[in-house]
């Protein structure tokens, strides 16, 4: 026979203003199995908790019901208090008589009666509660960082400096990400490469970091603390241990006219190539799609010139399997594809380029050595138009969000242009200038005031060519929506930042959720910004939403701390709200029939098959078994199981049944 204690909280006047708490306490005292009941002004306060603890001892309570606020608010508080009094914490339940009662109903008999009903219901539930033990799971103290951009680099270094092993997986032949493509960075105008490349080298040389470039995540199994990850190391057609990175092969390769991805098509590369001079690792890969040998079967020039015979034409992709306790996803973003802007002529006119291409033009190591020259004829543009929000904040284009970084980099572009072309005129068409950030607004002001950038508030409807000029037609909404036409020599689109084309596939591989734009979703937009809804997988950088460098780095360090905190223990404890398949004595073993209809229902692939064997090793029966590490306790399998062989701890069939019965029968 259970001994239940009921504790009714006044919550100051929040509850007692409309509910007669004394009456509720008194009447609960008459309920079957309730041996003690009382009310108190603030149950969650220190004296309130002491009251509960003392009552547990004094009245030998083995179940506690606290009638107060929402369990989402104080369930952990009261469970902890009960635990401190020597009770199993999972034998404490809360009746929500504040949010679901006193606050939503007027002062009346009826409201007090409802509070009583809710208490009675929870009393009946708690009588069926079973003592539960927190689940302990061991942790593999290795983190996998997916993506080697600035966020990935920061995260990897932070984790590695805490003394934990890190495996970095980068898709491209070099780490560095989009940041390595940038010329200067706002709002300080310091050179991007100068601040990034030392960090890239640090990653490569760190004793705790293993770097896999030209590699992708093949599959992820397991759960927090215990992931099993398969990594595909794409063939570089190269023995990396032999290669000295001398670069002779890249100078001799006969295929020289391949558009260079790093230069955003503004420069060329060879088929065996290093993406950029400061690449890490600074060793080439063969792009098989464009290699004469792989396409036509003859050439092998690189093999002939290599002084150390490091070229391996027969090298195959390699799949390696690693174990990890946590993953940090830092896969970054992409820029909207040109076919989005038929009206802006991107792709049709050579001198309409996007922001990243402008970065390459402005970069001292770029295709023009840092001179702003237009792609069509190499002339220096005298009038240049920047179009902000090219795709962003435009429901008609399917992108309703603000890409966030464009206002700032457009101001930076205008500045860089003016610094290099003194007699040139930069124009910026914008919707709003969003310059929230340290020194950001001041930076934009400088572009307007000191560098004389002409900001025009309005949208551009179309860009077309006439008399060798690009005519940018828009409206100036600060001049009464007057139509304006600017004859420009070059147009730069601040194209929207979008998710990577393969982000959906990766999200499904990782079992993390993503938003309508295919950006990865954080577990909570405010309070869990670097966690995902899959425990043990964290996010950082622009794979969540467009972010600038300081934000990406901050998030990366945040994610690193989460990983380090997880790795600070050798075991982790989890709420025991998990499902379980019953087990019985032979010959039944379990009421589970082994139909496995529940298998596909589980969102976490937590349902496994267990074979019951006789002494000779013959399988007698195959049963479902829940992996406690994977199960998150949703109970979808429980409601599906016909035989009721699965039950959910904390929300068991008996508990829920008792609740319904108690709520309606009195």
């Amino acid at each position: 026979m259970a001994r239940v204690g009921v504790f009714v909280c006044h919550c100051g006047e929040n509850i007692s203003a409309t509910v007669d708490c004394e009456k509720v306490a008194k009447e609960s005292g008459d309920l079957n199995s309730v041996v003690f009941s009382t009310d108190y002004k603030y149950m969650c306060s220190d004296p309130g908790q002491t009251l509960i603890k003392e009552a547990i001892k004094e009245h030998k309570l083995d179940r506690v019901v606290v009638a107060a606020c929402s369990p989402r608010m104080h369930e952990p508080t009261f469970r902890k208090a009960c635990s401190e009094a020597g009770m199993n914490p999972y034998l404490c339940e809360m009746a929500n008589i504040r949010e679901h009662c006193s606050w939503v109903h007027p002062k009346s008999e009826e409201t007090t009666a409802k509070a009583g009903d809710l208490v009675r219901t929870i009393v009946e539930k708690v009588k069926k509660n079973k003592p539960l033990q927190a689940i302990k799971v061991p942790i593999t103290k290795t983190a996998i960082v997916i993506g080697g951009g600035v966020a990935g680099i920061q995260s990897a270094l932070d984790i590695a400096n805490c003394g934990h092993k890190v495996i970095m997986v980068e898709k491209q032949p070099s780490i560095g990400g989009h940041m390595s493509q940038l010329s200067e960075t706002f709002p300080t105008l310091d050179c991007s490469q100068c601040i990034l490349t030392p960090r890239m080298v640090e990653v490569a040389q760190h004793p705790n970091i293993t770097l896999y470039t030209y590699a992708e995540i093949e599959s992820v199994d397991g759960f927090i603390g215990n992931f099993k990850v398969k990594i595909r190391r794409k063939s570089k057609s190269l023995d990396e241990n032999l290669c000295t990175g001398c670069g002779l092969c890249t100078t001799k390769c006969p295929k020289k006219k391949i558009p260079n991805e790093f230069e955003r098509g503004l420069g060329n590369r060879t088929a065996i190539y290093v993406p950029f001079p400061q690449a890490v690792p600074n060793k080439p890969v063969i792009d098989r799609e464009n290699c004469n040998y792989y396409q036509k079967g003859t050439c092998k020039v690189c093999e002939k010139v290599c002084p150390v015979q490091a070229i391996r034409f027969d090298q195959e992709d390699q799949i390696i399997e690693v174990e990890a306790g946590a993953l940090v996803v830092c896969t970054g973003f992409d820029v909207l594809k040109p076919n989005f802007f038929p009206e802006y002529g991107y792709g049709k006119y050579k001198d309409v380029i996007d922001g990243l291409q402008f970065e390459r033009l402005a970069s001292a190591s770029g295709p023009t050595k840092g001179e702003i020259r237009r792609p069509s004829d190499g002339e220096i543009p005298k009038k240049i138009v920047f179009i902000a929000c090219a795709g962003s904040r435009d429901p008609a284009k399917g992108i309703e969000y603000c890409s966030k970084i464009c206002c700032m980099y457009t101001a930076k572009h205008a500045m860089l242009y003016k610094h290099k072309v003194h007699d040139g005129t930069p124009y910026v068409f914008y919707m709003d200038i969003r310059a929230g950030g340290k020194m950001y607004e001041e930076f934009v002001r400088r572009a307007i005031v000191e560098d004389d950038t002409k900001y025009i508030r309005g949208r551009v409807s179309t860009v077309f060519e006439r008399n060798g000029k690009l005519i940018v037609r828009g409206a100036d909404t600060l001049m009464g929506a007057q139509p304006v036409e600017i004859e420009a020599d070059m147009v730069v689109l601040a194209s929207a930042g979008v998710s990577n084309p393969d982000s959906e596939e990766l999200a499904q591989r990782l079992h993390v959720s993503y938003d309508a734009y295919k950006f990865f979703a954080e577990a909570h937009p405010k309070l869990k910004p670097v966690e995902t809804n899959t425990a043990g997988i964290f996010l950082a950088g622009a794979c969540q939403a467009p972010k600038d460098i300081p934000e990406s780095v901050a998030a990366a360090s945040g994610a690193a701390v989460k990983v380090a905190a997880l790795f600070s223990n050798s075991e982790l404890t989890r709420e025991p709200v998990v499902a379980e398949v019953n087990r019985q004595a032979p010959p039944v073993f379990s009421t589970c029939t082994g139909c496995f209809l529940c298998e596909k229902v589980c969102p976490y692939q937590a349902i496994e098959r267990e074979e019951i064997k006789d002494r000779n090793g013959n399988v007698i029966k195959t049963l479902a078994r829940i992996n406690k590490g994977l199960c998150q306790g949703c109970g979808t399998c429980v409601a599906l199981c016909r035989v009721k062989a699965i039950d959910l701890h904390g929300f068991s069939n008996q508990q829920m049944y008792s609740e319904v019965m108690a709520l309606l029968n009195f």
């Binding site: 039944v588 009421t591 029939t593 082994g594 139909c595 496995f596 209809l597 529940c598 298998e599 596909k600 229902v601 195959t622 599906l640 016909r642 035989v643 009721k644 062989a645 069939n653 008996q654 049944y657 008792s658």
Partner: protein, 267 residues
């Protein structure tokens, strides 16, 4: 037809291709009953005629039958569908049960799921016209009329669970109706408890019912309880594109979902 069948089963048993054969035999009062043949001599008792429409698939998982060894079965169309459904629920394996079935007056035998699926695909599986008529008639009634109709039927139920025994899909060792922690279904046979039982049964068979009609045929009180599950077959097929017992590797309609599933009833 019986002769062909008897010879075939004799052959199979004497070749040790099977150890036990479940077939149709003569019962009392001209009725058909299942017989379990273990020796070539016993095969003489087998019959097959136009009255042999019963499916014996519900015997396939009985421990006594399984203990006998390799099973052969005279299979109607419904028995074959039951086999496919049981296979999709991992209850029987490929090449485990040898099914004998008539295809255009030719006696075929197969234990191969692919072959059986191909045969099933060539057959018509619609609900019988008079049954469909009854479903349509009920659907045309008002809610209150339907309530009254079923209450009258539930009142008759004596909770003998013959429906459960006859159903090839009711193979749980420990039926939820027997569970008493909590007592989902009242033990006593009163209207309310009877309704509980029949609704639970229908829900458990939704997306799994292969419309063999065994449940209604065996009901001693003649409750048309097959209509409860039949009525769900069409909506499940239309809404989710799922039909039970046609493929050995089909996905159960309620084990999966589409994000665009209809939800016009949800606020």
């Amino acid at each position: 037809m019986s002769d062909i069948l008897i010879n075939k089963v004799k052959q199979l048993l004497s070749d040790k291709a099977i150890d036990i054969f479940i077939g149709h035999g003569e019962g009392t009062g001209g009725r058909i009953r299942p017989i379990f043949v273990r020796t070539p001599e016993d095969a003489e008792q087998l019959i097959f005629n136009e009255n042999c429409k019963q499916s014996w698939a519900n015997y396939l998982l009985k421990p006594e039958v399984k203990a006998a060894g390799k099973i052969g079965m005279m299979a109607t169309k419904h028995a074959l569908r039951a086999m496919m459904q049981l296979a999709s629920e991992f209850q029987i394996k490929d090449n485990e049960v040898l099914a004998l079935y008539w295809d255009n007056n030719e006696l075929k035998s197969s234990a191969d799921f692919k072959e059986i699926e191909a045969y099933l695909a060539s057959q018509n599986h619609d609900i019988l016209p008079h049954e469909q008529e009854m479903i349509d008639k009920l659907n045309a009634m008002t809610t209150q009329e339907r309530w009254d109709f079923w209450q009258k039927e539930y009142e008759k139920c004596i909770k003998c669970y013959a429906c459960r025994s006859a159903c090839p899909m009711c193979y749980c060792h420990h039926c939820a109706a027997e569970g008493n922690q909590p007592q989902w279904i009242p033990v006593a046979s009163h209207q309310l408890g009877n309704m509980d039982w029949h609704l639970m049964r229908a829900m458990h068979l939704s997306g799994r019912c292969i419309n063999c009609g065994a449940c209604a045929k065996v009901c001693p009180m003649h409750i048309p309880l097959n209509l409860l599950t039949y009525n769900l077959i069409t909506p499940i097929q239309q809404e989710f594109g799922a039909i039970a017992g046609m493929k050995h590797d089909a996905t159960y309609a309620l084990s999966t979902f589409k994000t665009e599933d209809k939800e016009n009833f949800i606020l």
